[in-house]
Structure formats: structure tokens, C-alpha cells
Amino acid sequence: MSAEHAHTAHHQDHGHDHGSHAAYIKGFLLSVILTAIPFGLVMAGGFESRSLTAVTVMGFAVAQILVHMVCFLHMNGKQEEGWTMLSTIFTIVVVVILLAGSLWVMYHMNTNMMPQMDHELMQGFGS
């Protein structure tokens, strides 16, 4: 009986992490900083190495997404008995496979196929 009581109490507890003014303001300030730095970096021309700039900008994006997840969406491992976190992790895995796979495959397709679509070759077909 007491176990059932705990169960119901737990159910009602699900929506109870509403955050606080402090959490929202902390999230907002962190987001502003994490947005301003990459924007400033790119607008100022970036580092010498373009790939270093790109990696830095993407690092800031990942950090900001995590800030949003925690401060605005109140994500933690306990929400809905872990199902929220589990579905999120599953989605991230699929997204990474999808993005990395598409870019990888299409990049190789492009580098391997493009020479045959060359202008001279096309002319060769015509003659």
C-alpha cells in the first residue's frame, strides 16, 4: 500500500521541476555569452585556420544546446522515470548517424563522380 502511495506521489512529481528565475536568468546569460563569442569570432574574421574557427564555432553550439536543455527544458535523468532522457539519447544517436553518414557518403560520391561530369568529357560525348 505504501508502495502504491509512493508511486502516485512520484507520478504527480513529474512536472514539478519548473525551474526558477535564477535558473532561467543563468541560462539566458550563458546563452548570450555562448552566442556572442562565435558571432564575434566570425565577424572579426576568425582564426588563421578556417577549420579551427569552424570547430570552435561548433563547440560553442554544442555547449549552448546543452545549456538550453538543462536551464530551459529542465532535462535530467529522472524525468518520466528516465524515458525523456532515453528518447533524447536515441534521437541524438540517429541524428549523428544520419548527418555524418550523409555528409561522408555524399562527399565521396562528389569527389569520385564529378570528374566524369567534366565539361571536356561532356563535349567528348557530343562529337
Partner: protein, 209 residues
């Protein structure tokens, strides 16, 4: 005989599963269900990002990101969405405190920021189309308009939802139904902000490097 068999089966099942029917409060699973919807939406955006990643350098001898994008405008737009996120947060806090007037005021502020975002985005689109860089110009521009436009469409529908919810709260107060709707819309709104982080990073910032 069969009765005995069923009995032992139930006993075995009962050891691992909860067989007794128990009452779920109405709407208990709504936020998880809505989260799963958002994750499926995330997959759709992932496909559009992948398309942009593949086609993003196919300019068809047309204009590229550096000819078209204005980072200052994008920074202002990002600020609008960020501000609307925190004002929605304040609306949620006002709602949980039971203050209907404050909730409606914060939702109104959120709506204004959302509409500013849409206005700036439409201005950007209109400006690009005016320059002859419409979605039919190149693979890069098709992918750009599809990805950014889909996000904008989400913000549009989020704004419509926001207006209808404001009307409902004004009429019926902050009952459990409207609280549930607010929780769903807040997830939707913050989720769109997360997608926008991906958009301004991958499309605008990486395009301008």
C-alpha cells in the same frame, strides 16, 4: 486443468509485470508524448540539415553565403528568439505561481519577440529573392530556403498556438488543462530555439567563415 495453468501463468507474470489495473491521472503522459513528437521533429530537421550539408556548396555559379548573408541581422534575430525564450520561461513561472495576469503579459511579450523574429526573417527572404537569389536559383539556395523556412514555419505555428492559448487562459483561467498546454508549448518554443542554434551555427556562421 486449464484454470490451474492460467493461475500459475498469472502468478509468474505478476512477478515481473504490474497486472492490477491502476489509475493514471489524466494527461500524466502528455509531456512525455509531446517530447517524443519533438524528437521526431528533430529527426525531420536533421534530414533538412543533411540536405543543406550536401547541397550547401552547389552554387550553380550563383551567389554564395558571403554574398547574401548579413551576420548583424542574424545576430539580432538570434537575440529576438533568445529573449522570447526567457520571457516564455517567466510566463511559466508566473503560471505556476497562479498569477494569470502576469502569465498573459509575459506570453504577450513572448509573442512580440516571436513576431519580430518572423518579420526579420521574412525581410531577409524578401531581400534575397529581390536580389535574384530565390529558392530556384541553386541547390544551395533551395536547401537554405527549405531549412530556414521550415524553422520559420514552426515559429509561425507556435505563434498561432500562443495566441489561441492566451485566449483560452484569458477565458478559462489557469486550470490543469491550460497548464498542460502551456507545458507543451513551452517545450515546443524552447525546442525551436535549440534548432535555431543549429541553423545559425551551420548555415550562417560556418557559411561566413
Amino acid at each position: 486443468m486449464s484454470h490451474v495453468v492460467t493461475d500459475t501463468t498469472t502468478d509468474n507474470l505478476g512477478r515481473y509485470w504490474e497486472l492490477k489495473p491502476h489509475h493514471h491521472p489524466e494527461g500524466a503522459s502528455t509531456s512525455l508524448g509531446f517530447w517524443v513528437y519533438l524528437m521526431s521533429d528533430c529527426l525531420m530537421f536533421a534530414v533538412l540539415f543533411a540536405v543543406y550539408g550536401v547541397l550547401g556548396t552547389s552554387f550553380a555559379a550563383g551567389p554564395g553565403p558571403k554574398d547574401l548573408f548579413d551576420l548583424g541581422l542574424v545576430a539580432v534575430n538570434t537575440g529576438m528568439l533568445l529573449l522570447s525564450s526567457i520571457t516564455f520561461g517567466f510566463a511559466m513561472l508566473a503560471m505556476f505561481a497562479g498569477r494569470q495576469g502576469a502569465t498573459l503579459r509575459w506570453l504577450g511579450v513572448t509573442l512580440v519577440f516571436g513576431l519580430c523574429f518572423l518579420g526579420i526573417e521574412l525581410y531577409e527572404f524578401q531581400h534575397m529573392i529581390h536580389l535574384g537569389a530565390g529558392p530556384q536559383r541553386s541547390g544551395f539556395l533551395s536547401a537554405f530556403f527549405t531549412l530556414v523556412g521550415t524553422h520559420g514555419l514552426h515559429v509561425t505555428f507556435g505563434s498561432i498556438w500562443l495566441i489561441t492559448l492566451m485566449v483560452q487562459i484569458a477565458r478559462r483561467g489557469l486550470g490543469p488543462e491550460n497548464q498542460r498546454r502551456m507545458i507543451c508549448l513551452s517545450m515546443f518554443w524552447h525546442f525551436l530555439d535549440v534548432i535555431w542554434i543549429g541553423v545559425f551555427t551551420f548555415v550562417y556562421l560556418l557559411g561566413m567563415i
